[in-house]
Symmetry: C2
Subunit: 396 residues, 2 copies
């Protein structure tokens, strides 16, 4: 029997999904599992998007253009305009979720052995995609004590080598919820220019900012030839399952190279594009309501978490995640135990161990990522479960 | 401005899609373009699949499991059974089209620098995915003179090196339409066992075999631990746009490694899975009708092609493609000219230059791949256009 590849062996399991078999086993026993582990919003998809499905009149569900339908790309240009992002449809490539946008733009811009700088804790799957593409990840560590703010410029300079080709920023940040300030973004801009780097800017959470500040896209920094913006409709319109994301760049070489990878995989999902296009317009009130709801959840959750003895969470200003420090030795073991052993009246919670969001897992050993994608009533119950579980875990 | 990657530069443009801008320009001038270049069937998607869309009652279009919904995987097991393929749902991973199935199983099984043997002419995107994964492709050449039959075993042995890790077979073959015989498959089996290789078997065209022989899957060869079967509903149910494929393997190590890559990209398309699941059952008559239709088209097209002076096409026994030799110096130039210069009463045809289906493009310089995915009336018109164009091209 032939052996699988080294990269197949070394590919990390998703910290967000690796405990899924344990959750499924618990559910099979009749246990109710609250999913705080995954950014799967419970809010409804915009009605226009759902209606579009009922009105599909095609008789053949055919391939779409590799770069996505022009209609969707045109609507996206209109969507970006209020954010000061001026792009044309030719500068947008529709991908199979933000995930594919990351993988293919990594491949188009970076070669095996090239280095990319990411902040940690960072979205775990960036590391997976970097590994798939053979790219070396160097990390700059943000800390819970500083509320996961941008580390000083010196920390970036320290990890830059001749092989460094790019910086990746997730703004607002998954998993920390941190929103970078204009000052911080200008520091990143300086580093990018000084070292002639690409800047991958994952901006999928731009609609979810709670501090009243306007969102600042990397595409407004005046370094267009360096910027590859990653986007997705998944979170914005609560339609993660349709798998529609996008690569947005004004760098034509990057655009054309990404497009070649996109041609190989033929086309992004047709039905997802239909839903996405219908979701874009007439959703001002919808988006405002989503933001209000997430803000209320955030306020409720973070206050509740910090009231549990030994639990510490900064106040995230964006996205719908927070990285939380727990009074346990090993948060992954605790998360497993919650699924395998602990029940409060037949219920438990699932969280994502944060170690997988760090290149040095030790840094996140006592932390979890929590997604506040459940309604307040459920979050209230989750807090009860967590508090009881922590007591019982300490006493076991 | 930073440079893009070497792999981004070297990534080939799809021979199937690279001339699309010329076709679009022709259409913008009001020219009717017959698409013989792409395997985009014009047949309708099964009504059950289309109906399923109208009956989606979910309010949130959420992520699905990384491995795909259990219901779809169960139905697929039932679909495979009549082909003698005995698999359980745990041996199937749903992917974003057959394309993703290929890329992710390459990554899970092979490391950069590893070698894979493919037949040429072969599906061009295999080479693209191999390049994306850093895998070296070695080819064994089948010839139009032999109707693209399997070359002798010696030809495989000649290209096997210590770095050889796998053979890829597409059966029935895209682009040649060749269907491998039991004898040929047993030869492949021997080579696979002798050299302890993986066998990637792309079987997406199994429903389209016209010689009355039953289809023989690589999963019936008795070398299960070596086989990764690539599948897709795209062609079978004329639903290429929903992007649903699958990796089917009984090798648990391979399965688990592919799943880790799948977790990183979160999930396959939700809506596509709904359509695919609804398409599987109650389509015996549908599939029979499709086969009859494609067979009639094949008979009509191949006879017509061979009647044009200087044009040669073997009689393909499966799929819906044929590789055709044309009386031109350079088929790509001819294909371009058809789109840019030639019109017959305001109409022209688009074909895929076959050079991109060979690792040595010179071998396919005079050939094109034609997909017979248009109705006979249109194919008739395409033959007229092609014949007239060839005359005019020779005389220009």
């Amino acid at each position: 029997m032939p052996n699988i590849s080294r990269r197949g062996c070394e590919m990390p399991s998703s910290p967000i999904r690796k405990l899924a078999p344990l959750a499924n086993a618990a559910k099979a026993q009749g246990v109710k599992v609250y999913h705080l582990n995954i950014g799967q919003p419970d809010l409804p998809t915009p009605q226009n998007g759902l209606n579009a499905l009922k009105h599909v009149t095609r008789k053949t569900l055919e391939y779409s253009p590799s770069e996505g339908y022009p209609g969707l790309r045109e609507k996206l240009c209109g969507y970006y305009k209020p954010f000061g992002i001026q792009v044309s449809p030719d500068e947008i490539i529709v991908t199979t979720g933000g995930s594919e946008a990351i993988l293919l733009s990594f491949m188009a811009c970076l070669d095996p052995g090239d280095e990319i700088i990411m902040l940690e804790p960072g979205y775990a799957n960036y590391i997976s995609f970097a590994r798939a593409a053979g790219i070396k990840v160097r990390t700059v560590t943000s800390t819970i004590e500083n509320g996961f703010a941008l580390p000083p410029v010196e920390a970036f300079e320290e990890v830059i080598t001749p092989a460094t080709r790019a910086i990746l920023l997730c703004n607002p940040s998954n998993p920390t919820g941190y929103v970078y300030t204009t000052e911080e973004l200008l520091k990143i801009k300086d580093i990018v220019l000084r070292h002639n780097l690409f800047l991958f800017s994952d901006e999928v959470y731009r609609e979810f900012i709670y501090n009243g500040e306007p969102f600042m896209s990397a595409l407004t920094l005046g370094i267009d030839q360096h910027v590859i913006m990653i986007d997705s409709v998944s979170k914005r319109y609560s339609e993660c399952g349709i798998r529609i994301g996008m690569v947005v760049t004004r760098n034509k070489q990057v655009h054309d190279a990404v497009l070649k990878f996109c041609q190989a995989r033929l086309s992004p999902p047709l039905l997802g594009q239909i839903v996405a296009e219908a979701s874009i317009e007439g959703v001002e009130d919808y988006l405002k309501a989503c933001q209000t709801e997430y803000k209320a959840r955030r306020d409720f959750l973070i206050e509740g978490l910090n009231r549990i003895p030994g639990v510490v969470s900064p106040m995230p200003q964006g996205a719908f995640y927070t990285v939380v420090s727990l009074p346990v030795d090993d948060a992954e073991n605790f998360c497993r135990w919650l699924l395998t052993d602990f029940r409060l009246d037949g219920e438990t919670v699932m969280m994502a161990p944060a170690a997988g969001f760090y290149s040095n897992p030790a840094l996140g050993r006592q932390q979890v990522r929590i997604a506040y994608v459940l309604k307040i009533e459920d979050l209230k119950r989750c807090l009860q479960i967590l508090e009881t579980a922590l007591k019982q875990y300490a006493a076991r």
